[in-house]
C-alpha cells in the first residue's frame, strides 16, 4: 500500500467517521458488515437496479427455444440476453470496462467449445431441443461447459449425463443451491472419470415452493449435499431417501442461506 493510498483512505474516513458518538458508530459498523456496504447512496442505487430488473421474471423464459436448435449460437447468445440480475455475469463480462479480457470473449471460441457442442448434440438427439434452457462456456470458472436445464427436464438431463456412454459423468463433485432472490438455483459440478471431462449443470427453480427431483439414484454422493441444501435453503428434493435437516436440526425455524432470512437473535 502506498502512502498516497493511505492518506486518501484516512482522509475519506475522517470525513464520514467524524463526529458520531460511540453507539452511532457501532451501529454504523454493524451496517458496514451487512452484504452491501460501501457508500450508502451507491449501494441503494445498485439495489434499485436489481429490483427493477428482477421485476420481470418472465424475461428468462421467452427467447431460448429457438436458439437451442443451433448449439453454437446458443452458447453465445442466451447468456447475454436471458439472465436475471445476480447472475447475468456473462453480459457484464463482455462489456469492455470489466476485468476479464474482452477480446477473448468476443473472438476465439473457448478450447472447451467442441466439447460443449458434442454434449449438446447428444442431449438434443436424446431429449429433444427443448431439454435445456441454456448452454455456455463459463470462462470465469476455468472454461467449464455449463448446461442449464429446466426443472422438469433436470432429472432426464442428469440421467443422460450419467449413463450415456459418450458422457458418463460418473462422479458428482459438488451440489449446492443458491438463493437468487427471484428464483433458486441448484448447481452441480460433475466429472467423468472415463473421459476426464468436467461439466457444470444448473437448474433454476421457483423460489416460493422450491422442489426438485433428487439425483441420489444417480449419484449416492448427492445424499448429504441435498440434505444440506434442504437444511440451509429449504429446497425440497422429491424422492430423496432421507431428507433431513442435517446441520441445524428439525426444530430450526427458517432457512439461513436464504437472502431474506432473519436471525432469531441478532446478538449471537
Amino acid at each position: 500500500m502506498t502512502d498516497k493510498d493511505k492518506s486518501q483512505e484516512t482522509d475519506s474516513v475522517h470525513k464520514d467517521g467524524g463526529d458520531h458518538s460511540e453507539s452511532e458508530r457501532q451501529q454504523r459498523d454493524h451496517e458496514a458488515d451487512k452484504p452491501s456496504s460501501g457508500p450508502p447512496d451507491k449501494q441503494d442505487s445498485q439495489n434499485e437496479n436489481a429490483a427493477t430488473d428482477s421485476e420481470n421474471p418472465n424475461k428468462p423464459q421467452t427467447p431460448h427455444p429457438t436458439e437451442e436448435t443451433n448449439p453454437k449460437k446458443a452458447t453465445e447468445k442466451p447468456v447475454s440476453s436471458e439472465k436475471s440480475p445476480p447472475d447475468d455475469k456473462p453480459k457484464r463480462k463482455s462489456s469492455p470496462s470489466s476485468k476479464s479480457a474482452p477480446e477473448k470473449t468476443e473472438e476465439e471460441p473457448s478450447y472447451n467449445q467442441p466439447l460443449l457442442d458434442q454434449y449438446l448434440s447428444i442431449i438434443e438427439k436424446d431429449l429433444g431441443s427443448m431439454a435445456l434452457e441454456a448452454a455456455y462456456i463459463n470462462r470465469l470458472s476455468k472454461h467449464v461447459p455449463t448446461l442449464v436445464a429446466h426443472d422438469h427436464t433436470y432429472f432426464q438431463v442428469a440421467k443422460l449425463l450419467r449413463y450415456h456412454p459418450a458422457l458418463s459423468f460418473n462422479y458428482l463433485s459438488e451440489l449446492h443451491g443458491t438463493d437468487l432472490k427471484t428464483h433458486m438455483e441448484v448447481y452441480l459440478h460433475l466429472h467423468s472419470f472415463e473421459h476426464h471431462h468436467s461439466l457444470a449443470l444448473k437448474v433454476k427453480i421457483e423460489r416460493d415452493n422450491p422442489e426438485l427431483e433428487t439425483v441420489t439414484s444417480l449419484w449416492e454422493g448427492a445424499n448429504w449435499p441435498e440434505c444440506e441444501a434442504y437444511d440451509l435453503l429449504g429446497i425440497h428434493f422429491i424422492n430423496h431417501p432421507n431428507l433431513k435437516r442435517i446441520f441445524l436440526g428439525e426444530e430450526w425455524e427458517g432457512y439461513p442461506l436464504r437472502k431474506d432470512y432473519e436471525a432469531y437473535d441478532e446478538e449471537v
Binding site: P86, S141, V144, S173, A222
Partner: protein, 366 residues
C-alpha cells in the same frame, strides 16, 4: 444359538475416537452393527452465511477454521477461486512459497492422521512420534505465517509474508529428517502383525462405490483410481513437479494407510524440487486492486487437500463481498459412505473404519 437383542448405542458427540463433535447412533445386535446413523452439525458455524457479509480478505481467516489440520489448502482454495475469476497471474516466487506451505501442511495433516489413527486402534507411541515431527512443521509454519494452526497466510494475489531469514534452510534440513522418521514409522507399525490384522480387509469398498459416493483423496485412491487434482487438473505450479500419485488396490483400511504414508513421501519430493526450481527472491504479491472485487459471475474451482477434493464456489455480483459462497468440503462428502461401511461390521471395526475415512469435524460441519 444365543438369542440376542438389538441395542441402541450412542457414540459421541464427545468421544475420543471421533476427534471432534460427531455422533454416531448405532443399532447393535451383540457385537454386530445393524445400522449406523451419523449425526452431524455440532460444529456448524455457518461459514458460508458469514462469508456473504465479509470481504474476500476477511473470509480467509474463516477458511482456516474449516479444516484446521490443513488450513493452508483452505486458504489456497479461496484465493485460487477469486484469482481465477479476476484473472490474476501470480509471481512464481509467491506460488512456490504457497506450494511449500501447502505441502508442509499436507505432511502435518497426514501425521496427525497417522498418530491418532494408531492411537484409536490402540498403539500409543506412534502418536507421540508423529506429533514430535508435526511440531517441527507447525513451528516452521509458525515462523512463516505467525500462526500455528490458523495461518491466515495467503492473500488474493499472493502471500502475506516472504520467508524469514534462514527459513528455507530449516525446511531443507527437515526433509531428510522426516524421511528418516518415515522409514522408522514403517518399521514401527508397517510390519506390526497386530496392526495389520486390524486393518487388512477392513472397510473394503470397490472403485464404483467410491465414485458413486463422491469420495475423494486417499479414500478414492485406495481403490486404485489414479486421481489427484495436483496431477490431473494442475493448479498452481504442480505441473512443474515430478511426483507419483499413490494408489491402492483393494480399497481396505490398509490401502488407505499406505496411500497416506506414500503421500507424505511424495510431498517431501515436491518440497525438494521446489528448492531446486525456486528463484532466490521475487515478489510475494501480484498487482491486485486494494479492494478485491471478483467480477460478476460464478466460478467453481477444486484443488487437492490432504483429505480430498476441496472446492470453492463463488457467485459474485461484482461487489467486494461474494453473493454466495460455497465450499465443497471433502470430509463432508467422504463421511457419507460410513453407514454403508459399518453395516454388518463387528463393533471393534467401527473405530478402524471411522478413523480410516480421516474426517475433520470442522470441515464436515462447515
Amino acid at each position: 444359538m444365543l438369542r440376542t437383542e438389538e441395542m441402541l448405542l450412542n457414540v459421541g458427540p464427545q468421544h475420543p475416537s471421533t476427534h471432534g463433535v460427531f455422533r454416531l447412533v448405532i443399532k447393535i445386535d451383540g457385537e454386530i452393527i445393524k445400522e449406523a446413523t451419523p449425526v452431524i452439525g455440532y460444529l456448524h458455524r455457518g461459514t458460508e452465511k458469514l462469508a456473504e457479509d465479509l470481504t474476500y480478505t476477511q473470509i480467509i481467516p474463516y477458511t482456516d477454521r474449516m479444516d484446521y489440520l490443513a488450513a493452508m489448502t483452505n486458504n489456497y482454495v479461496l484465493c485460487h477461486a477469486v484469482e481465477t475469476m479476476m484473472g490474476v497471474e501470480l509471481p512464481d516466487y509467491a506460488e512456490y512459497l504457497r506450494v511449500l506451505a501447502m505441502e508442509l501442511g499436507r505432511i502435518a495433516s497426514h501425521l496427525v492422521w497417522f498418530g491418532t489413527y494408531l492411537l484409536d486402534i490402540g498403539a500409543v507411541s506412534p502418536f507421540l512420534y508423529a506429533f514430535r515431527e508435526r511440531e517441527r512443521i507447525i513451528n516452521l509454519l509458525n515462523e512463516l505465517s505467525g500462526g500455528r494452526l490458523t495461518f491466515n497466510y495467503m492473500r488474493v494475489g499472493g502471500v502475506k509474508w516472504d520467508a524469514p531469514g534462514g527459513w528455507f534452510d530449516r525446511v531443507q534440513e527437515f526433509v531428510p529428517y522426516m524421511r528418516e522418521q518415515l522409514a522408522g514409522y514403517h518399521d514401527l507399525v508397517g510390519g506390526n502383525e497386530i496392526f495389520l490384522s486390524r486393518v487388512k480387509g477392513v472397510g473394503v469398498y470397490s472403485q464404483e462405490t467410491a465414485l458413486q459416493y463422491s469420495l475423494s483423496g486417499a479414500n478414492l485412491r485406495c481403490t486404485g483410481v489414479d486421481w489427484d487434482l495436483r496431477k490431473h487438473e494442475p493448479y498452481s505450479l504442480y505441473e512443474r513437479f515430478d511426483f507419483k500419485v499413490i494408489t491402492g488396490e483393494t480399497g481396505d483400511a490398509w490401502d488407505r494407510f499406505k496411500c497416506r504414508m506414500g503421500e507424505i513421501e511424495e510431498s517431501l519430493k515436491i518440497i525438494e524440487q521446489t528448492f531446486d526450481q525456486m528463484p532466490a527472491e521475487g515478489k510475494t504479491m501480484a498487482k491486485v486492486p486494494r479492494m478485491i472485487k471478483a467480477p460478476p459471475g460464478e466460478a467453481y474451482v477444486r484443488i487437492e487437500s490432504p483429505r480430498g477434493e476441496i472446492g470453492c464456489y463463488i457467485n459474485s455480483d461484482g461487489k467486494k463481498e461474494p453473493y454466495r459462497m460455497k465450499f465443497r468440503r471433502p470430509s463432508f462428502y467422504n463421511l457419507q459412505i460410513l453407514p454403508k461401511l459399518l453395516e454388518g461390521e463387528n463393533m471393534a471395526n467401527l473405530i478402524t473404519i471411522l478413523g480410516g475415512v480421516d474426517i475433520v469435524l470442522g470441515e464436515v460441519d462447515g
